[in-house]
Symmetry: C2
């Protein structure tokens, strides 16, 4: 067999179109509210969870699944907006430490309701809880293989509890 089955093609096309639709809709709503894009939310959340000790960019890369330079450029923009602070690392002279600012926390808290409402409208209201759970379970078969060395798993956009 050198061509995908009809069921494979059907799953592939719906997967791509659905995730594109959801992402575009959520990004559009954030922009309409004058809020930064989803990538900022994911980054701010991870940095906020790190607390006062902060987080190293290389750790952020792994959690956000971004390339090294992507993380660097993303942090550039978020820092320029005053939502995080970068400082040289004490223990390791090569590294830096990233911490969230008060304004960063405030912005993350303003993003969440818009994000949450979109997820409810676009997913929760359109599919039953049991179906959603079953779908997520089934999709696990298609996940990326765990990179060597990482035993704890992480998803792309891991939202928190309500602010």
């Amino acid at each position: 067999m050198n061509t995908p089955s009809a069921s494979t093609l059907a799953l592939w096309t719906t997967l791509v179109s659905v995730s594109r639709h959801l992402l575009e809709t959520i990004e559009a709503r954030l922009k309409a509210e004058g809020l930064p894009p989803l990538a900022w939310y994911d980054a701010l959340l991870e940095i906020e969870k790190a607390g006062n000790v902060g987080i190293r960019p290389f750790a952020l890369e792994q959690r956000l699944l971004l390339p090294q330079y992507g993380t660097s450029r993303l942090l550039d923009r978020i820092e320029k907006a005053g939502l995080i602070a970068r400082a040289p690392c004490e223990e390791d002279g090569r590294g830096h430490v990233v911490r969230i600012t008060e304004e960063g926390m405030a912005t993350r808290r303003r993003i969440w309701p818009v994000y949450a409402r979109a997820l409810i409208e676009l997913i929760g209201n359109r599919i039953g809880a049991d179906d959603a759970t079953a779908l997520a379970e089934a999709l696990h078969a298609l996940r990326a293989p765990a990179p060597p060395g990482s035993e704890d798993r992480i998803a792309t956009a891991a939202p928190p509890e309500a602010p």
Copy 2:
């Protein structure tokens, strides 16, 4: 309820991470083979299907779900690579017509085996046909609402039969 349920969040995070993983893997394989990105394949396929009469950019936009300027820029690059030809439209002085070249067809035919093999390895080999069909059906509940005026549905990356 103002926060998404756990099942909604689980589905959202797996959806995003799985589709990102699949897309990145396929794009990486195309690049490794010296082939153009997936977007070129989708465009070339639609243009090739239009045959000798060609296709208008505005029709391509609808099928590829791209913005007007996105289509224009994409066609710029594909044309510069010699894979398509743009000509002014006879019936409508405002419009243009896009046709595929021999080299364009050849390139599309070279992309397909790589694309097809990736879909088989990443999807077909990891999930049963019945499960894949059920998954695709269930995901239909999350699709974008049909835009007014379009009665025939289309997916983002609609692959053809084997070349």
